[in-house]
Symmetry: C2
Subunit: 336 residues, 2 copies
């Protein structure tokens, strides 16, 4: 099979299309013929050496959709030939609250989805939502899972609430907006790009604030009707979290799944307890949450937002686009 | 009636015993003949001008127990002559998650419990737990309520969990220890005083660490059996919260009701989300929580820890003791 192989860290140009041996399924495994894969920041961070314990050579990629091509002897034969989307986590463990110590994500150290074929446990198979193309379905897994856990499991967003999603355009943020709206919430967004704010409004955001404006927090309060959002979903950390504590409605919930701008040096703890706030950290999600995500997208007919589709061989260009953070939605690799 | 009146801020010596007019109950109010009152840091902070909007003259005091002496025409006559403990909050409002805007605590601007008599809404009356003396019952209200909300409502401590209570000796911390134990948890404590650690162990703490030792966090992890506590109840903020994020068990809950040492400038947000942590701010508690607190102390026969009982006239000495933070338990004023 052909695969994108990373043999050296440092630059996206090191992603090379190579001929690799075809994977073979173990007893409770399957091999999926991939039709599309999608990028995550994780892939860029690995290439940029920002993670510890990187093992090379590696086939990156956590997100994929395709057709089940072969199965191990312990696998239900009904899976053969089915169109599937792949759950990206391995060995989450029994506790929905927390990943087990051995939990990991497809794509380093296990071979990932930037390839024509992938070998995975049959337990990671989910039927592709029928209304989605392979490209759209491939965009769902890791970002959708992170957003689902943030919005549904952790924040427990309720119908009628107002949810602020910061940094719209990123994969998780767009899923968070869709999921919050599906749960009946009003969504406000922030971005450094007025163009992205307009695009988010076309997708259902009630309003947006450009965080280059130092008064963006006041804008959000005004957009929320004056009382501030009930819930804030963030991955910026730093001053964004500090502003979140100021503008959120009392008894509100802040959920963050990253801290890309660093630590929050001036988080107002006094306001935090007087306002009875809750702040939750979250990462990835459990198999049960992934199943709920796929069901929600299937039942409600939701469609992941796709930024751009590149052919597999153009993986370096795709990763450069992600590293430059100009995208609005998932960046996808189409695998012919 | 006699009352301790504050006519000038700045020093505990300004608390003067004076003759004041007897209060008269309104239609849905009662007058309680107080037998004991208890101090809170709030009283010291007011005297030290650390709060905004202080109105003088004031009768301070949020905690009290006594006997119902007279009632308004709309009050159930069964209350007359009953021994009661007083709920310290006024106008919490309908939402258990959050105090209403007009919420306030007895003792400035309303006259408080450092007096022979107090006028309160009948809704604030609760039968005194029969096994408690008036001095013990007077120690329960504000600190017990804050602890109950922290441990039960917010942290939702479960039987078998390990709870770290920092700064043992303070009123809220001791109630948090009792309530966590009553819910079936193991309790570990910290203090800057080995003597207080020993006293806490006699009251049921499984172990204690002196936070003057820079490795106190490691000590707590060892005392917890190696995995760290499930729950941390804190009011120090600052570096204590930073250590809390490091030592708490993954998926753990941190609840804080104060930040006496200031902001947490190096709160590790990366560890926070990777460990799936939750941090909750809390203050005071609702009428429903106060009723649950009194029920718990009544049903389980729990007794608030009393540090020292002063006569009402020695209110300045009592407040000096609190300001010096040497106490272990509640400081009480006995009212003859």
């Amino acid at each position: 099979m052909k695969a994108i192989v990373l043999r050296e860290l440092g630059d996206v140009e090191n992603l090379k299309l190579e001929e690799m041996p075809d994977p073979q399924p173990g007893s409770d495994e399957v091999v999926v013929r991939l039709k599309a894969a999608a990028l995550n920041h994780r892939d860029v961070f690995i290439i940029q050496k920002l993670y510890p314990n990187i093992k090379l050579p590696a086939i990156l990629g956590s997100d994929g959709a395709g057709v089940v091509e072969s199965i191990g002897e312990a696998v239900d034969p009904a899976w053969l030939g089915r169109e599937v989307v792949i759950e990206p986590g391995l060995d989450w463990g029994p506790d929905d609250h927390l990943q087990a110590r051995g939990y990991r994500i497809l794509g380093m150290p296990e071979d990932g989805t930037f390839a024509e074929k992938i070998r995975i446990p049959a337990a990671n198979l989910h039927p592709k939502p029928p209304h989605l193309s392979f490209e759209e379905a491939a965009g769902l897994p890791l970002a959708g899972l992170t957003a689902f856990r943030s919005v549904s499991t952790r924040a427990k967003v309720q119908a009628g609430e107002t949810v602020l999603v910061t940094g719209i355009g990123g994969g998780v943020a767009l899923f968070a907006m869709q999921i919050a709206r599906q749960l009946g919430a009003r969504v406000i967004v922030t971005s450094s790009s007025d163009e992205k704010l307009e695009m988010a409004k076309k997708l259902g955001a009630e309003g947006g604030a450009n965080y280059k404006n130092p008064d963006w927090g006041k804008e959000v309060v005004a957009l929320s009707g004056g009382a501030g959002p009930d819930v804030i979903i963030d991955s910026a950390g730093g001053e964004t979290l500090e502003t979140a504590v100021k503008i959120i409605k009392p008894a509100g919930r802040i959920v963050f799944y990253g801290a890309t701008t660093g630590l929050a040096r001036n988080l107002d703890l006094y306001r935090f307890f007087f306002k009875q706030l809750t702040m939750m950290g979250t990462t990835m999600g459990s198999p049960r949450e992934f199943a709920s995500l796929v069901k929600m997208y299937t039942d409600a007919g939701l469609t992941p937002v796709i930024d751009h589709v590149f052919p597999l061989a153009e993986a370096p260009q795709a990763h450069r686009r992600m590293a430059q953070a100009g995208q609005f939605g998932k960046i996808v690799l189409k695998i012919e």
